[in-house]
Every structure is written in C-alpha cells, then in structure tokens.
C-alpha cells in the first residue's frame, strides 16, 4: 500500500470563544453539531474526519451547504487551524510547521482555486496568473513564459492585458485555474471552483479539468455540492454531513450502497445508467468453466448506459465483462442491468 499524498486524521474544528474547552464534549461524549450550538454556543465545523488522499487522484468532498467542506479543505494548507487532529502532506506534519515552512508549503506544494474566483482586481490576467510565481520570487522573464503557457492552455490567449472585472464568470475561473496550475504544485485544492458558473460553462470547465488531469496527474481535492459533478470528476468521493464524514468510496459504492437516508436523498435524482459500471454487475463464471462462445466482450469500466444496447443485441442478452488487465470478470445480463438501474 502506498503512502497517501495527504493524510487527515481525526480532525476536529470548533468555532467559538473556547474551542478547546468544548472539544471533549464532541470527542469523548459524541455531542453533535446542533446540541453543541444549543448548549455551548460553539459551531462544530469539522467532526472527527479522517481521510487519506492518494497521489494523482481527484478526491471529491461533497455535502450540503454548511456541512464543513470549505472548513475541511482549508485545513490542508492550514488557512484554518484545527482544534484537534493531524494533517500530513507527503509525510510532513503540517501542524508542526513554522511560518516559513508553511509559506513554502503553500508556495511550492499546493495551490488553490476559489468559488468566487478571488482574483486580484488591480492586476491584469497575465499578472494574476503569474501571482504565485511572483510570490515564489521567480525571475520576470521566466514568469512571463510560464504564465503565457497556462493562459494558452485554458484558452485565454489574447486576454493577457485585460482586467478580471472585464471578463465573464467562466473566463474569470479559467484565470483562477491557470493561476493555480502555474506554480506547478503537485496538489490543487478546489473549493466549489465551478459552482458559481452556468451549467453549460460548468460542464466545459469540468472537461478542461479532466483533460488537464489526464496529462498532469496532480492530486486534486475538489469540493462540490453537486452530485453529478462529484460523479463525473471524482476517483473517490467523501460525503460530509454536519462536519462528520458519512460515507467514502467511489461513485458506484455511493450509488449502489448508500450509507444512510441523507445519501439516498442525494442520489435519488441522478442518472444511474451513467454511474453504474459493468464491474458492479459481473457475475463470476463457475470454477473452471469456459466462457460461453459468441458473446460480445465489454470493458468492466463501461457504464450501463453504453453497455445496454450491446446487451440487448447479444445472444441471451448477455455480455462478457473484461477487466483492465485482460482477465475475465464474469458475465452480465440485461435483466441484471435493469434491476441495478431501479436500485
């Protein structure tokens, strides 16, 4: 098992005048968010969250408004100090860092993209994208070159000398993304980065992100409250409620095995055919049995939406499911698929 890129362990964050004093109520007595607010007038932001984020993955963190997503992500670069718990990045204890080490962590190891863009309004697009490099102290000529590269990559060529206030929301967030990518940090923190955008532009931005990720392989922590976005982007999805983690897993786990009503509520409107993959249906063949002849073969990662047409045309409406490594996972039938879609 490889070491996680980011490890969050038993993290607590309580907002209020004396967080340390009320921490025992939450940690040892299991007091929840509402009770803590009623009885002790403190807000429970993050409640005992542990999360290992693997390298080169897109880790999605999801939850309703106020569930503690922004608070959680801000602990990774320690914009917020925790009340209790541990955070390590590449094995280094983030909470033990002094100011200078912390600045270096933020300058070189990670960067951030914000929901409301948070661009510097008095700087041009070029100067905004180059901000992280400037803070690092990179020479001007190099900043110019690297900045131009990212401006081109996010499709803003020609807008270099414009000011953020003159661009549309979608364009502003491309600037935010380019600014985040320009420092070449391994870790990208994105707090509802696309939530303020129109659905179409949002879909575009997701595509841009996936395209870039296929090539850059960063470790991305992506916050969203939108399930479709989570399912489209996330290699792994963590769901928060009232500051606590209620379920963690890949899209299938969440759709096929929702942990509770909160999550069932979340997933009730999604198009399951786009999420469930053949892997989840594959019934292994009997020990030693040869696979039936004449059946079409589909990769295990095919979503049902794409698999169903092939299934309906196949003999016995059955297909063979093949894993990535070429081995056979088993067979799947159209009947199984229809049942899976209805939960």
């Amino acid at each position: 098992m490889t070491e996680p890129k980011i490890r969050i362990k038993n993290l607590y964050k309580i907002f209020g005048d004396h967080p340390e004093k009320v921490l025992p109520f939450v940690r040892d007595e299991g007091m929840g968010k509402d009770e803590l607010l009623d009885k002790h007038n403190h807000v429970l932001g993050v409640n005992n969250v542990s999360l290992d984020i693997m390298e080169k993955q897109i880790q999605v963190v999801m939850g309703l408004s106020g569930s503690g997503k922004s608070t959680l992500i801000r602990h990774i670069n320690r914009l917020i100090e925790p009340t209790g718990g541990e955070i390590t990045v590449d094995g280094a204890d983030v909470l033990a860092m002094n100011d200078a080490q912390l600045r270096d962590l933020r300058r070189f190891k990670m960067s951030m993209v914000f929901q409301k863009f948070a661009l510097l309004p008095h700087r041009t697009i070029r100067e905004n994208v180059g901000y992280g490099l400037e803070v690092q102290g990179v020479a001007e000529a190099e900043i110019a070159e690297r900045t131009q590269h990212w401006i081109d990559r996010v499709g803003l060529t020609g807008y270099e000398e414009h000011y953020p206030g003159h661009l549309s929301g979608g364009m502003q967030q491309r600037v935010g993304l380019a600014r985040g990518l320009a420092t070449d940090a391994d870790i990208l923190l994105m707090d509802e980065a696309f939530s303020a955008l129109d659905p179409l532009i949002r879909f575009d931005m997701q595509s841009i992100l996936l395209e870039l990720q296929a090539e850059l392989h960063k470790t991305i922590v992506f916050i969203t409250h939108d399930l479709d976005e989570a399912l489209r982007l996330g290699d792994d999805i963590a769901i928060l409620r009232d500051g606590a983690m209620v379920q963690q897993g890949d899209a299938q786990d969440i759709v096929l095995k929702p942990a509770d009503d909160y999550i069932r509520d979340f997933i009730k409107d999604i198009n399951r055919a786009k999420v469930i993959r053949l892997r989840a249906l594959a019934a292994p063949l009997a020990e030693g049995a040869a696979p039936p002849d004449g059946l079409p073969t589909l990769p295990a990662s095919t979503v049902l939406e794409e698999a169903m047409l092939t299934m309906s045309d196949a003999p016995d409406q059955t297909v063979l499911v093949e894993r990535k490594d070429g081995t056979l996972a088993g067979t799947a039938t159209l009947t199984q698929a229809i049942q899976a879609l209805h939960g």
Partner: protein, 296 residues
C-alpha cells in the same frame, strides 16, 4: 441649600489660578529648555520651505503656467480641467496675486507631501491591529475638532512665529483624513482576495504592498484630496502666525474692512481648491479604471 444647586461647586478661584499658572510655568520651562533644540531640529525643514517658496516666486510665470498645465493634464487627462487650471492662474496673475499664490502653493505642497509621508505609514500601522486603531482614532478626533487657535498657543510658545509653526498647524489639521482613509481602505480590502494571497504563500509584506495598499489606493487618494482641501482651508489661520501667502491680504482686509481685497484673495484660495480637487479626483477615478463594468 438652593445656592449649592444653582452654582456648580467649582474649585476655588485661587486654586484654579495657581493650577493654571503652574501648567503655564511648566510649559514655559519646557519651552526654554527644548525650544532651541526643536528649532534646530526643524531648521532643515525651514530652509527647504524658504528655498521652495523662493524658487516658485523666482521662476518666470510662463514656465509656471506650463508646469501647472502639464501637471493638470497628467493628473486628469482632461482638456477642460487643464484649460481651467491655466486660466485660473492667468486671472490670478492679472489681479496681481501671483506672488502670494506662489507662497501659498509652496506651503500647501510641502504640507501635503509631509502629510502623505507621515500619514500613510500611520494609517497602515492603524490597519494592522485593532488596538492601534483604538489608540489612534481618539487622537485624530481631537486633532480635527480642537479649535486651531488652541493648539497654536503651545506651538507658538515653543517655536515662535514663522513658517515652521504655521506648517505644523496645517499638518495637525490636515493629516487626519489621510490617516483615516488609509486605515479604512486597507481594512475594506476583500477578505477573499487576501485569503487567495495567503493560499499562495504571500508573506505579510507581499500582501501589504502587493495587495492591500494597491487595492486601498482609491481610498488613500480620497484622503490625499481631503488633506489638500483642509490644508488650503488653514491658509488664513496660518498667516496669523507668520506664513506668507494669500492669507495675509485676507487678514489685512478683515482688520481694515477692505471688501474687494478680501474677496479677491478669498476667491483665489477657492480657485486653488477647485483646481486641486478636480485634478486629484479625476486622478483617483483613473486609479479605479480596472474596476470597469464588473461582473461580481
């Protein structure tokens, strides 16, 4: 019994007189011991003021007009304001107020320059902590509300009559707005933008000079504008303690009931005020050009 209620039980007249005398004596003692040292301290400032005033008066008027026009254009980029400024100076010259205007211009420029030099750092300091703000705000309140004549007394006792005490009086009155607006401007900077700077690892220096001060500039500039206006409004009072300029004839007009003289010089002060105001306002607007038609 009734008397006790109608006459406030004040300290005895004699005790009061003695107390006042003691304070006066103490201050006079202070002034005898340190007055000369202070004067020496301010000597370079005095020399500079005298030199600058002489320079303005000695410079041929067409050159001054060109400089005024040039500065007006640089500041406002507006032909109207530039032409208005030059025209006002021409009228001032025609009515024989050129020399006094140059003297006033000299002291106002130096006062404004010093206000910026001292006021902006104090404003920055004030924005950094709430304690500092709580400490400085009442001092600024006093500076702005205490009648100028009251602080003229110790200033004159310490430094006598002349340009430097006049300049100090102008500074005390004119510096609060720039301090306040620098503080306010920095405090109003969007916390999300600051958070972004933090997230990219900016040091507090990088945040101050790269984000906070630039974004506070429109407010700081409004402060500069107000400071200039307040300095101009002190011209007459400053002339009472020996500052040359447009205030002197106004004072003469008051004591001799010369209506026309008072009006002309008063209007010249107003003209200067309007010119400074328009130029600095349109410069301030240009500083905000990036705000454009925002998509917030």
């Amino acid at each position: 019994m009734w008397e006790f209620l109608t006459d406030f039980p004040a300290i005895g007249r004699r005790e009061l007189a003695e107390m006042k005398k003691a304070i006066d004596e103490a201050f006079k003692g202070f002034s005898r011991t340190y007055g000369e040292g202070l004067e020496n301290f301010f000597d370079p400032l005095l020399k500079f003021l005298v030199w600058f005033e002489k320079l303005l008066i000695a410079t041929p008027w067409p050159i001054i007009l060109v400089i005024v026009g040039g500065l007006a254009w640089l500041g406002s980029r507006s032909w109207k304001i530039t032409a208005g400024a030059v025209l006002a100076f021409i009228v001032i010259g025609i009515f024989d107020m050129w020399e006094d205007t140059m003297a006033t211009l000299a002291i106002i420029s130096v006062a404004t320059f010093l206000c910026i030099l001292i006021g902006i750092p104090i404003g920055i300091l004030m924005s950094r902590s709430d304690r500092m703000q709580a400490l400085i705000t009442p001092v600024l309140d006093v500076m702005q509300t205490i009648p100028s004549f009251v602080y003229l007394i110790p200033v004159v006792m310490l430094l006598g009559i002349g340009k430097v005490p006049g300049l100090l009086a102008v500074l005390i009155y004119a510096i609060p707005p720039i301090v306040r607006l620098t503080n306010l401007g920095i405090r109003l900077v969007d916390t999300e933008v600051l958070e972004a700077a933090d997230a990219f690892g900016a040091s507090s220096r990088q945040k101050l000079f790269g984000v906070q001060v630039p974004l506070a500039l429109p407010n700081i500039f409004a402060g500069v504008n107000q400071t200039i206006m307040m300095a101009l409004s002190m011209v007459v009072i400053a002339s009472m303690i020996g500052v040359k300029g447009l205030g002197v004839p106004v004072l003469r007009a008051i004591s001799n009931q010369y209506l026309a003289l008072g009006l002309m010089n008063g209007l010249a002060i107003v003209a200067l005020a309007i010119i400074f105001d328009r130029i600095s306002q349109s410069y301030g607007k240009r500083l905000q050009a990036y705000r454009g038609q925002g998509h917030d």
